[in-house]
């Protein structure tokens, strides 16, 4: 395909890149990820030293692997939304909308598979609607998703009359064991799903054209448009993927407790967002990693148990959350400048 360019150019001798320079490039590329992993190790060590009995036992990790996925499954695709320079505050409500659909379809047809499919489709479409509002009307996503967050929660409350629904009939089906069952009696299935989602999002972001366009859109929308990137389609899709993940997370969280509460998802908003930002994704868009978010989910998810286990009262939890988030994000800001 090329071109006058390569042919006419003289062949220069490629210089060997110095070790120091390679190190800089490596640090710039992986610095944030190394940083967040280091934070994770420090916090973990503190917990092990402070409460060895708890943090050297198998049970605590089984508990983490069962509860962290509820928000980690959403935080991973949410990372793509933030990289694209957008924001989503509606995923908590979409969790409930998905389950509303699940319960409705299950009661109508008695089919677990059909109910699960409709649940996921509802989540995808609700997310797509977010994207459509942002793209078609040019409303900032922060505002648009505050709106849809109230709207979808309202829909759930109106339709159900705020009455919860039992999911006990689902127990014993393939869906139940496939999403929240325990593998070898120990590893919760939802942990496997979280890893699957992490791998899928990583591949999309790093090895697929879609992910390349997500980074470009968030980095410089005008440049991306000038170079022929379909910015609008990219935006719509990232929102739709978060919606899809939210519906799945809602399904997993509900099946775990065998109940659909209409308040499902209300507690997840801030910790999911916190995980994305703690993981080093820039609020301005253009940068962010799946690894960072993944590790940050485990930091956020272990603090509560850790704080109690080392003998502090639960009141300390939020204080320590705040401290870790502010300190880490400040560290990242400094790191970013240093590495630039």
């Amino acid at each position: 395909m090329t071109s006058q360019v390569e042919e006419k150019a003289p062949k220069p001798i490629p210089q060997k890149r110095s070790f120091r320079r390679s190190l800089t490039i490596f640090a710039r590329r992986y610095g944030m990820q190394i940083g967040i992993f280091f934070v994770f190790l420090v916090i973990w060590s503190i917990f092990i030293i402070g409460a060895p009995k708890t943090f050297l036992s198998r049970e605590i990790y089984a508990a983490f692997m069962s509860t962290i996925p509820f928000f980690a499954i959403m935080a991973l695709p949410l990372t793509m939304v933030v990289i694209a320079g957008e924001m989503d505050l509606s995923f908590g409500s979409i969790m409930a909308v998905g389950m509303l659909m699940f319960v409705g379809v299950f009661q109508l047809t008695g089919s677990v598979a059909l109910a699960a499919v409709f649940c996921l489709v509802a989540g995808f479409l609700a997310g797509l609607l977010n994207g459509a509002i942002v793209v078609l009307f040019g409303i900032p996503s922060l505002v648009a998703t505050i709106g849809t967050q109230f709207f979808w929660r309202g829909v759930v409350l109106v339709v159900t009359g705020a009455k919860p629904a039992s999911l006990v009939p689902i127990k014993g089906t393939f869906l139940h064991s496939g999403t929240v069952g325990r593998i070898a009696g120990y590893v919760p299935s939802q942990m496997i799903w979280t890893i699957v989602v992490a791998i899928l999002v990583w591949v999309l972001l790093n090895r697929h054209r879609f992910g390349a366009h997500v980074y470009l859109t968030g980095d410089n929308e005008d440049s991306a448009r000038l170079m022929g990137v379909n910015v609008d389609r990219t935006r719509m899709l990232v929102f739709a993927l978060v919606g899809l993940a939210a519906a799945f997370a809602g399904l997993v969280a509900s099946l775990e407790v065998n109940y659909f509460w209409v308040t499902l998802g209300e507690g997840y908003l801030l910790r999911t967002l916190a995980a994305v930002f703690l993981g080093g994704t820039s609020v301005f868009g253009g940068t962010g990693t799946v690894f960072g978010t993944f590790i940050a989910c485990f930091i956020i998810g272990t603090i509560e148990a850790g704080v109690v286990a080392i003998g502090l009262t639960g009141f300390w939890t939020q204080l320590i959350y705040g401290l870790i988030i502010v300190v880490s994000v400040a560290m990242q800001a400094i790191l970013r400048k240093r590495l630039a």
């Binding site: 006058q4 360019v5 062949k11 320079r21 090895r207 054209r209 980095d219 410089n220 991306a224 990137v229």
Partner: protein
């Protein structure tokens, strides 16, 4: 005439602002056309219609003699129109290779990227055409760290890498040092030698005069006049430009 690009009766408004009114504009095969005009004259709008970024309100665009009705950025690039934008159109937080292949990443039909292929090609381009012989730059380097001239180099090499028929350079000398400007003007001459066509837009009459075969002057959304550079001296052109800026017409 053998035109590679021909535009007839192009008009474009943004609200109340008539950016272009009934503009006729053409580029012959293997011709370098200089586009001159004051700020807001409509040069960039005209260019962004050629590249598919804006759609004209009325008028026709012909490429290689065939009318093109569905001109989008992607289609324009497929036709062989490449652009070096005034704003450079880089994503500075991304690596060099991602910028080179922006919007047309190499990959298979399922959209999976050929990352190694892109990195290797970027490395070749860097050492060959971009003149980045310093060991400080790698395909993985983030563009943010580059100097103004280096960034411009990225934008130009990106346009030249893909086998372009028509290369558009929109204010390419902006922010360049003297030697970088010289290099750029040589680039434009190379385009001509390679049998390709170019549209060269600049404020600077000297730059345009030195490389263009023909100069088109745009003022307030209209074509105010055009000259073959061999028929006019630089002084005459300067005077005409001055007159256009004052009165809106040539005579």
């Amino acid at each position: 005439m053998d035109y590679i690009l021909e535009m007839r009766n192009i008009s474009k408004s943004f609200g109340d602002v008539h950016a272009l009114r009934d503009v006729d504009f053409a580029v012959e095969r293997n011709e370098v056309v200089g586009l001159l005009g004051d700020n807001g004259a409509g040069k960039s709008t005209l260019i962004k219609i050629v590249t598919g970024y804006y759609h004209p309100d009325s008028g026709e665009v012909y490429f290689n003699g065939k009318e093109v009705t569905d001109l989008s950025v992607a289609n324009a690039r497929k036709l062989g129109i490449e652009t070096v934008y005034q704003e450079r159109a880089l994503a500075v937080q991304q690596s060099l290779w991602r910028n080179i292949f922006m919007g047309r990443e190499l990959g298979n039909r399922y959209g999976f990227l050929d990352v190694n292929g892109m990195k290797t090609k970027t490395e070749k381009l860097m050492l060959g055409s971009m003149g980045f012989t310093s060991s400080a730059v790698a395909p993985e380097s983030v563009v943010e760290t580059f100097s103004g001239g280096e960034k411009q180099g990225v934008a130009i090499v990106r346009a030249l890498y893909f086998d372009a028929e028509l290369i558009i350079l929109d204010e390419p000398t902006m922010g360049l040092s003297l030697s970088e400007t010289r290099k750029l003007l040589n680039f434009v001459q190379d385009i001509k030698k390679a049998g390709k066509s170019a549209i060269f837009i600049d404020h600077n009459v000297f730059h345009v005069y030195s490389v263009a075969d023909r100069v088109v002057v745009i003022d307030r959304g209209r074509v105010a006049g055009e000259f073959m550079t061999e028929d006019i001296t630089l002084d005459e052109l300067m005077n005409k430009m001055y007159q256009v800026a004052q009165t809106g017409h040539m005579d």
